[in-house]
Amino acid sequence: MSRKLAVYWGCFTPTKQYALELSTRRVLESLGVDIMELKDSSCCGYPYRGVRPKLWTFLAARIMALAEDQGYDYIVPVCNGCYNSLIKAKHYISENKKLLDEINGYLREEGLVYRGKTRVVHVIEYFHDYYDLKSLKEEVFNSERRKLKITTQYGCDAIRPGEIPRFDNPRNPQKFENIIEALGFTAIRDYPRRLDCCGAPLMAVNPELGLKVNWLKLRSVKMSGAELLVTTCQYCFEMMDSRQESSESIMGEELGVPVMYYQQLLGLCLGLSEKEVGLNFNMSPIEFFLEELKR
């Protein structure tokens, strides 16, 4: 049976976080999943949910209307922010008929209609429930990896606010840890600040504060004893990997936490090369983990 998947790349991944796009593409190819590109896509509007709420709902509804128009039952946004943006907008529009009509008025100019039929599936949810945990385990499990301890960063947008139905328990999610253990690793299922923010949303208006939040989070990861931090969120990745050094210099203490995308880790386990999953773009110290993985 051939598998197909409609992916929505968002803004940040295709304009900057190339490692995430590369690794996601290569991993899905290796797993035999055909990627269907969402045509005519644009920003999901999420950054503007505070400053211009209606712009947000329009852009989010537009993406879901495109998915309906192109005949997809469900789409997977690779971006955490896009995921939250779409499910929140869907929830919000469903409670507000006036808004629905107004948004559809705008969408009609482009020949689109929003009906709210498309399911929005998180990347973690996809691997856990759609590709499914059992198939993943059959494909990649290796018990020799058990000695390596890995911890997770879900990212706030994956889990909160929990009043909107999510793919996992918003107060103690486990699916990310499950898909890490499906590869053979040991997942650390709890540490202080585990479900806390990385500080990324502050980078637009108060970067120094954002970097401090990031450092506190990373220190907590370090104290958990994990050999690697894994995330699927590119905002968390940018903070915890690429801006780790800036956070260290602002706080005056080095941490040296290795960070990877889940798709990069999965790619390595599938036998892809470091370059194929874009590991040359990771700025955090991942060398030691890579050596251990090869042993």
Partner: protein, 158 residues
Amino acid sequence: MSAILKEIIGLQDPDVCYQCRRCTSGCPIAYLVKDFRPHRIVAMVNLGFIEEVLRADFIWDCTRCYKCTEYCPQRVAPSDIVLSLQALCVERGIRFPDEYRNMILRISRTGFSFEEMEVADREMEIYDRKSLGLPPLTPPSKIDIVGKIVLSLGGIKE
């Protein structure tokens, strides 16, 4: 006044807050910024001190992690209140951070919030989509129509 905020983002009624401070106790920003106290923001809104809050810098310090909302026993949603205050700030012309304005302008031209970048890897080699073999990123085919709607909903004149 809280009715106006409610209209903007459809949040829960903040009037039921009984100031237990659970929001503040778990807030990663309250831990770092002395003036940022979610329970106090809710109290100020309930008491009608909207003008004061709107002009305070700290409403832009929220990292939008929604922890306060998740753990509020009254389902008050302090994070949504802060976001509504930001919306009101913009609507009244008190503050509209340039970063957002520029991003909205960019969507109206390209469809996306960010510019396609050249990125350096660990060896300081420069890459872009083309050199990585990624398919080109193109604006929506009807960007002229989308762009106009984006500018009008973003409240921006070209």
